[in-house]
């Protein structure tokens, strides 16, 4: 299998500081009201649904409703907007390694019963039923990482449109070479409720917004394009704070203008200094996917069976942290109702652990790390990343660059992709410069960087003190399912990474 990461963001951002709150009775009550009450579904009916799935090692009902809204500006006009509502339930039954799954957009007792019977087709092998009455145990003591207000209602339509018009104005003001500005905003408000066969009833209400600005510049007959953006789990008002839209617009224009001047990229293995923040896509591809529990349980990952081994240079510590306030990749609970964690993947160069959902954790005899995520009710949960990043080291980023006689300084990237089994990964630089005699010199054209996951981090020779997370627009794709994620890292020096340029060095 191959997995990939998309993006379109750049500048620094801090997450909104919110007061820590705990999941109160009200989140669970609100979710029940929203998802169960309209069809009059009672706890005793849920009990009956679970009775169709007796003998399950794991079974759950995942109720979800999603409201999505987006607006798009192009040629200075608000061209279109879109609104959608989706609601449904997914029913899963697991016996041993086998999963049965069915879903419906109809949340009624009848449809739940039919789904449970369909999902339980997996278990028609004569397992003895565990006779245990299902009893709801409401999980309320969960730390809430974001406000539950609807981002869609956080502004009026006129105010949302004003954000896009401002983006257009700022981008055009940034340079006379700007020919085209495309800006869009999107917001999602999601209610989820998970009932599992152990009687746990958990709920979450999740906001998510993002903004992207893409510009096309033209100078002396040459054209280039670049995009930036940001977002996270809060309302649209985030974009009105701290001059954010102007920062995004200026950054997009700056990047496009830099690329107008870019010369051919060098080809072949060289010393590469990666900038802080979004270049953490390296970690997501090179090691993150390979450490997801499903691949390791099945033995299909290049990292399978390597816990305790040295897979990175000394000083390299990488975590997957779903507990950061308001981050795009954060979740108060995952899609199986497990609270998220900060999971250490690599500690001081040694492989420490995998990321798990309930199914793979159980089969590997460990606890779920709160990484069970799914795109929506009509997809099965899998182990997925949240916010994956490397902890800061001690070096000054300037000293790192100064230490390189000849190499590449890559600060912005498009997406990346990895082949889980061979461990080979790529990520595409979209802003990069030559380093000559310790100085950053000419910009070079975008190029794909390629490496081998299990050994690329052993070549890390310097780690900066400037850890930064991305601005909040990452989308990770795996087995046909997309989920929002975050990445981050400090400035890093890697001794020998293959750069896919066109310029063969003499």
């Amino acid at each position: 299998m191959t997995c990939f990461l998309f993006r379109s963001s750049l500048t620094a951002s801090e997450s909104n500081k919110k007061m820590v709150t705990y999941m109160t009775q009200s989140i669970l009550q609100q979710s029940k009201q929203h998802l169960l009450d309209p069809a009059g579904i009672t706890e005793s009916q849920l009990d009956q649904v679970f009775s169709y799935m007796q003998g399950a090692d794991l079974a759950d009902l995942y109720f979800q409703s999603t409201r999505f809204e987006s607006w798009m500006l192009e040629e200075g006009i608000i061209k279109n907007g879109s609104y959608s509502i989706d609601k449904g339930v997914g029913v899963r039954m697991v016996i041993g390694e086998q999963t049965g799954f069915a879903y419906s957009d109809e949340i009624t007792f009848d449809s739940l019963s039919a789904l449970a019977k369909a999902a339980s087709a997996i278990g028609k092998s004569g397992q003895t039923a565990k006779v245990k009455a299902w009893q709801a145990r409401e999980k309320n003591n969960i730390k809430q990482l974001y406000a539950t207000d609807s981002p869609l209602a956080s502004m009026t339509e006129d105010e949302k449109i004003a954000l896009l018009n401002l983006a257009d104005k700022e981008a055009r003001a940034a340079s006379p070479y700007v020919q085209q500005v495309i800006a869009n905003i999107a917001g999602v408000h999601e209610h989820i409720l998970v009932a599992d066969n152990e009687g746990n009833l958990s709920a979450d209400i999740r906001p998510l917004v993002r903004m992207n600005i893409t510009v096309i510049v033209e100078k002396d007959g040459k054209r280039e394009s670049a995009g930036t953006g940001g977002g996270g789990r809060f309302g649209f008002d985030y974009f009105t704070q701290a001059d954010r839209i102007r920062e995004y617009a200026n950054e997009a224009v700056r990047l496009a203008l830099v690329n107008l001047e870019a010369v051919a990229a060098p080809a072949g293995s060289q010393t590469v200094v990666l900038g802080s923040g979004w270049p953490g896509v390296l970690l997501h591809e090179a090691i993150g996917h390979g450490l997801e529990g499903d691949f390791n349980r099945k033995g299909t990952s290049a990292f399978s069976g390597r816990i305790g081994e040295k897979v990175a240079a000394k000083g390299v510590t990488v975590v997957d942290n779903g507990t950061l306030d308001n981050r795009r990749g954060s979740l108060s609970i995952d899609d199986e109702g497990t609270p998220t964690n900060c999971t250490t993947l690599i500690e001081d160069g040694i492989l420490k652990g995998y990321m798990h959902d309930k199914l793979n954790a159980r089969l590997m005899g460990v606890e779920s790390t709160g990484n069970g995520r799914r795109e929506s009710y009509d997809h099965l949960p899998m182990p997925r990343m949240t916010n994956t990043y490397m902890l800061a080291g001690e070096q000054d980023p300037q000293e790192i660059i100064a230490s390189v006689e000849k190499g590449l300084y890559a600060v912005n990237f498009g997406g990346g992709q990895v082949d889980i089994t061979s461990g080979k990964f790529v990520f595409a630089a979209s802003e990069a410069y030559l380093i000559e005699n310790g100085k950053v010199t000419r910009p070079v054209k975008g190029a794909t960087l390629i490496g081998n996951g299990p050994d690329v981090l052993t070549k890390v020779s310097m780690i900066g003190n400037d850890l930064k997370l991305d601005t909040g627009v990452g989308v990770c794709g795996k087995a046909g399912q997309s989920v929002p994620v975050g990445v981050g890292q400090p400035t890093l020096k890697i001794d020998g990474l293959t750069v896919g340029g066109t310029e063969v060095q003499g």
Binding site: N80, S84, I85, D105
Partner: protein
């Protein structure tokens, strides 16, 4: 699913939605509806890994209030949800700007002759049969050779459903269709070595009878995996590259993205203003054939109801027309090419060589069988992607290659195409054989 009842139900929903849109003040509206069902099974090491039942339905609606546009979608097709969706779309149209190019396609372009493309062939297969078939497929691949040490899964999926498109010109078109596939992916390893390689094969068709046998799929998957064992990196060099048919498709798609109407009017393409310009060598012919029976891209009408027809996109290496819907066509002052929602079966004509002949033509160079990453700059045509495949000398395979990139500029790559094979891969909407291109840079050790 009863297809006749479902069609009737979708027609009623469509009428209701269009009527409500009018009532809400929309001057025109268009929509697409779909409903379908199926299931998939995935086997891992002889066990059922997943059994998933799929049931999908949805409405996607766009309304126009004069020159203002609004859209909304829903997965709930109840009358209440339809009404909410119409209202949501109309509400959005109140806030969008006036856009002189927006609106339905012209009424006189609507498809009137809608024949049967023979796309609907549900597979009478129960889950137990599917499980047996997939288990069998995986087992054959795992037994193929001792170096096949693990499986990345074998799967069977079947889906059939119906799509409806309609608009306030009075156009309604219905497309019942089915799609089935069998796939197998296995992992190989040399004894005593750490390095693992994975490869796969799949077959897909609208008719289950036309799927390749599980034996053939399993064997190809295993052979492809074994061939990749002991892969090496190449040193950095210039080389000619032969893209296998599965990979050659991506070259065609970089071209079609560059001549898409949206990219042209936004000027976000390295092939700006290329109608009547020579982009490829003389022998390149690329055409769209929307009415091929049973093909994946076949349609008598596009998403706007516009009648599709056979046409040349590239003739004698010269670009004939763009790929447009009515919106991008109006932006460009041209006529829609009936490509709202996509391209309907592309064929790149072969220059006559089979795969062995192409290997001989390549002589010494790189045969690419897998590409990863998305390293294409659509503004400049700069191309740089991760690749795996085989190093060829004197027309013969020397050793498998991985962890390299191939790079060039797409404009040059298009000009430097030397041959297109007759080893066509029919599994997708683009039909092409292997493509031989001269002068790329391989970056490696």
């Amino acid at each position: 699913m009863n297809i006749i009842e479902t069609e009737q139900k979708l027609r009623e929903i469509s009428e209701l939605a269009l009527k409500l849109a009018k009532k809400q003040g929309a001057s025109s509206a268009e929509l697409s509806l779909n409903k379908g069902a199926g299931f998939s099974v995935e086997i891992h090491k002889g066990n059922v890994d997943k059994l998933e039942y799929n049931r999908d339905q949805g409405l996607s609606l766009t309304v126009y209030m004069g020159q203002h546009q609004g859209s909304a979608t829903t997965g709930d097709l109840s009358p209440q949800a339809i009404e909410d969706t119409v209202k949501a779309a109309c509400n959005i149209a109140k806030f969008t700007g006036e856009d002189e190019y927006t609106g339905l396609a012209d009424a006189d372009l609507m498809a009137t002759q809608i024949g049967d493309l023979d796309l609907y062939h549900p597979w009478d297969l129960d889950t137990a049969q599917a499980i047996d078939l997939a288990k069998n497929c995986e087992q054959i691949a795992r037994d193929f050779d001792a170096r096949i040490v693990n499986s990345d899964g074998s799967s069977i999926s079947t889906y059939s459903g119906i799509g409806l498109m309609s608009n306030s010109h009075g156009f309604t078109g219905v497309i019942p269709s089915s799609r089935h596939s069998i796939s197998c992916s296995v992992i190989g390893q040399e004894p005593g070595k750490e390095d693992m390689q994975r490869d796969y094969w799949y077959s897909s068709s609208r008719l289950n009878e036309k799927l390749e046998s599980v034996e053939a799929i399993a064997k190809k998957a295993a052979e492809r995996t074994l061939k990749r064992l002991n892969a090496q990196q190449l040193s950095t060099r210039q080389a000619n590259v032969l893209y296998s048919p599965e990979m050659a498709r991506s070259i065609v798609s970089h071209f079609t993205s560059a001549i898409a109407g949206g990219a042209q009017y936004r000027k976000s393409t390295f092939l700006l203003d290329t109608i009547d310009k020579k982009v490829f060598p003389d022998f390149i012919h690329l055409h769209e054939q929307p009415h091929i029976s049973q093909a994946f891209g076949s349609r008598y009408f596009d998403r706007e109801g516009v009648a599709t027809k056979d046409r040349d996109i590239v003739a004698d290496g010269i670009v004939q027309d763009y790929i447009m819907n009515s919106y991008s066509a109006r932006q460009l002052g041209l006529k829609t090419t009936a490509n709202a929602g996509g391209i309907h079966n592309l064929t790149l004509d072969s220059t006559g060589q089979d795969f062995q002949e192409l290997l001989k033509m390549l002589g010494t160079g790189f045969l690419v069988t897998e590409l990863i990453g998305s390293g294409v700059n659509s503004m400049t045509g700069d191309y740089s992607r991760g690749a795996a495949g085989f190093w060829i000398e004197n027309g013969e395979v020397q050793f498998p290659v991985d962890e390299v990139t191939i790079a060039a500029n797409l404009k040059d790559m298009f000009k430097n195409i030397v041959a297109v094979g007759n080893d066509v891969d029919y599994r997708g909407g683009t039909r092409t054989g292997s493509i031989l291109i001269e002068g790329l840079t391989i970056a490696g050790s």
